[in-house]
């Protein structure tokens, strides 16, 4: 099984005085994939990455890279390279020297080295910049140099520590797409950590959602979005509405729920052990909500709501409404299909119960 995965970790634990930053994490990254670890700050993702790079040692568990145990291998002998959060380009060296640094350590002869520096700079779209000092480059260019510095070594595994954090929004959008293309072009396995769900969703083949040192769910982005397995994932990945109520009854995989104002709605059960009477949270995405006035599908469930305001944001426009004493957002299609809604207008919000997910209420 290890022959197919570039990285495989089993039962990794890292404790610091007082808390466990990484708590029994196991993961398996197939060769050539883009694997993201997504989590809020302080969830332990940076610690996990540093364990993989060798800058920290696990208290328990094993790290295998291409089947080889890495626990006692120092960072400079691991087939792993890292793009640091603030890039860590050597300010005392030119771009070319930065890229040549690792090659020199591998004793690549000078002529060959030159060739590969030129080649990799071309691949990342920065030809002719080898002589510059990193400080003279723009943020996006520095990003690419940091990538090139690692990729030129052809590592088994490339670790990326939120390298896009420092870029402005527009550039970040651009770099996301570009990183994905570069990963495909080089075929290197990427392990990327971020707190920005959009970065993880756009680029990754697999995303692990991390919380309090543990993985909540590991899945491709689409599965993560459509079938979150925990209330945390449902709330953290993508926008979601949360409605709290009591479970009345269960029919097959659908649950009948009484919201706190007495209205009844339905959703699909996403966890085990729910009994009638237990407190539950129902998650339904803004784009699953249909505004009444349109023909309502008889299988749909719904509730009455009062419009508070509309939030225009192009394709991402929404209405903010109050329903069952809670704030609910619904997507407002901009193709002319939505009715014009004034403030305080009464509407009915409806959805397909299969698209809503019901979890036991978090306390």
């Amino acid at each position: 099984m290890t022959s197919h995965s570039d990285l495989s970790c089993t039962g990794l634990v890292r404790r610091f005085s007082g808390h466990t930053a990484v708590d029994h994490v196991s993961l398996d990254v197939p060769a050539g994939t883009f694997f993201s670890i997504l989590g809020p700050s302080g969830c332990g993702k940076t610690t996990l990455l540093r364990l993989l790079a060798g800058f920290d040692k696990p208290d328990e568990g094993d790290i295998h890279i291409r089947g080889q145990r890495m626990n006692d291998v120092p960072p400079n002998h691991r087939p792993v390279n890292m793009v640091f959060q603030h890039l860590a380009l050597f300010p005392t060296m030119s771009v070319g020297e930065n890229i040549g640094y690792g090659l020199k350590r591998q004793k690549v002869p000078a002529a060959e080295r030159q060739k590969r520096i030129v080649q990799v700079l071309e691949q990342v779209g920065l030809p002719d910049l080898a002589g510059r000092n990193p400080q003279q480059l723009s943020g996006g260019q520095r990003q690419r140099v940091a990538l090139a510095r690692c990729l030129v070594l052809k590592p088994t595994l490339l670790l990326l520590d939120e390298p896009l954090g420092a870029l402005d929004l527009k550039l970040r959008e651009q770099m996301k797409v570009e990183l994905k293309h570069l990963q495909k072009a080089f075929g290197t396995t990427f392990v990327y950590i971020t707190h920005d769900q959009s970065e993880a969703m756009v680029m990754s083949d697999q995303v692990a959602v991390m919380r309090n040192g543990r993985f909540d769910q590991v899945a491709p982005p689409e599965v993560l979005y459509r079938q979150p397995e925990t209330p945390f994932v449902a709330g953290f990945v993508g926008d979601n509405n949360r409605l709290r109520g009591d479970l009345v009854s269960v029919e097959g995989e659908l649950a009948d729920i009484r919201l706190d104002d007495g209205s009844r709605v339905r959703g699909r059960i996403a966890c085990e052990g729910l009994e009638p009477g237990s407190r539950v949270d129902l998650f339904v995405r803004p784009e699953s909500l249909v505004l009444a006035g349109e023909a309502i599908n008889p299988g749909y469930t719904g509730m009455d709501a009062r419009i508070r305001t509309t939030l225009f944001d192009g394709a991402n426009s929404r209405v903010e409404a109050e329903a069952a004493g809670q704030t609910v957002y619904a997507r407002l299609p901009q193709d002319g299909s939505a009715p014009r809604l004034g403030e305080n207008a009464a509407v009915r919000l409806a959805w397909d119960p299969i698209l809503a997910r019901v979890f036991e209420a978090a306390t």
Binding site: R50, G54, F55, D56, K57, P74, P75
Partner: protein
């Protein structure tokens, strides 16, 4: 080598041993000097003959004269204090003015003047003393010889010592104060102007309080450096010798525990001053 990179246990052990050896090297001469200020023997060396305060308090009747009854050393101490006072005053004032000049104003030739400002740092102290002696004392000699005018101010003595010390201590206090001024957020000054203060008011109510810790720091540093200076001072001193020069002369005659007593006294004094200065600049 750094915390996150594995090190061997041997490396750590050797490193620790080195650190210990280093700090022993650092502390040993001072501890020894201090301890022998209390040895009941006429010569600062082993064996230990017991504890005494004679080297501070003896009044000369038992053949021993302690520091507090030694008029030569006490008057030298007073000379040093006076010199240090003037040097501190002049250097810190110059430092403030220079800091504003170089951090706030733009004028032609600023780079060159800044380099000139740094120049005293790369001139050996002896040379600073010698050049001032040659220029001012030479001037006094010429004036006396050609016109019979006595410029006693420019003969070796306290004035020349103060001038010689200011020549390089002013650079240091400028650097200290300028470093702090550089970190000042100019928006605070603009806010003061915006709230109705005049530029001068803004300077005294907003900027100067911000600089205060560095002014204290520079002052303490200037005082200590002046008090301890030997190389420049020895070239310029006249009949009223400051403490370091007096101690040097005594030391050439042979060492007695009185010298240890003075040394310990100086160390404690400097430590107190340095501590007070650090407290103040920590608060800022």
């Amino acid at each position: 080598m750094i915390r996150s990179v594995p090190r061997s246990r041997w490396f750590d052990a050797i490193y620790l041993l080195y650190l210990v050896a280093f700090f022993v090297y650092l502390a040993l001469p001072l501890i020894v000097t201090g301890v022998f200020a209390f040895n009941d023997a006429p010569f600062p060396s082993l064996p230990w003959k017991g504890f005494t305060l004679d080297w501070y308090l003896a009044d000369g009747t038992g053949g021993r004269t302690g520091l507090f009854h030694d008029d030569g050393l006490l008057s030298a101490l007073w000379v040093s204090v006076q010199i240090a006072f003037w040097v501190t005053l002049v250097s810190v004032s110059l430092g403030c003015v220079n800091a504003v000049l170089f951090e706030r104003l733009n004028f032609r030739g600023k780079e060159l003047l800044y380099l000139l400002m740094l120049l005293p740092l790369v001139i050996p102290g002896v040379i600073l003393g010698v050049s001032i002696l040659v220029f001012y004392s030479g001037m006094a000699n010429d004036a006396s010889r050609l016109w019979g005018i006595e410029l006693d101010l420019f003969r070796p003595g306290m004035t020349l010592v103060v001038m010689g010390q200011v020549a390089f201590i002013a650079t240091l206090s400028t650097l200290v104060i300028a470093a702090r001024l550089r970190k000042f957020d100019r928006q605070l000054e603009e806010a003061a102007l915006n709230l109705g203060a005049t530029p001068l008011m803004a300077w005294f109510t907003v900027t100067l309080p911000w600089l205060m810790p560095s002014i204290f720091g520079a002052g303490a540093m200037a005082f200590l450096m002046s008090f301890e200076n030997f190389n420049t001072t020895v070239m310029l001193t006249g009949s009223d010798t400051p403490l370091t020069v007096a101690l040097f002369n005594r030391l050439r005659e042979g060492s007695t525990p009185v010298l240890n007593a003075v040394a310990l006294f100086l160390m404690v004094g400097s430590a107190l001053l340095a501590m007070v200065a650090m407290r103040r600049s920590d608060r800022g």
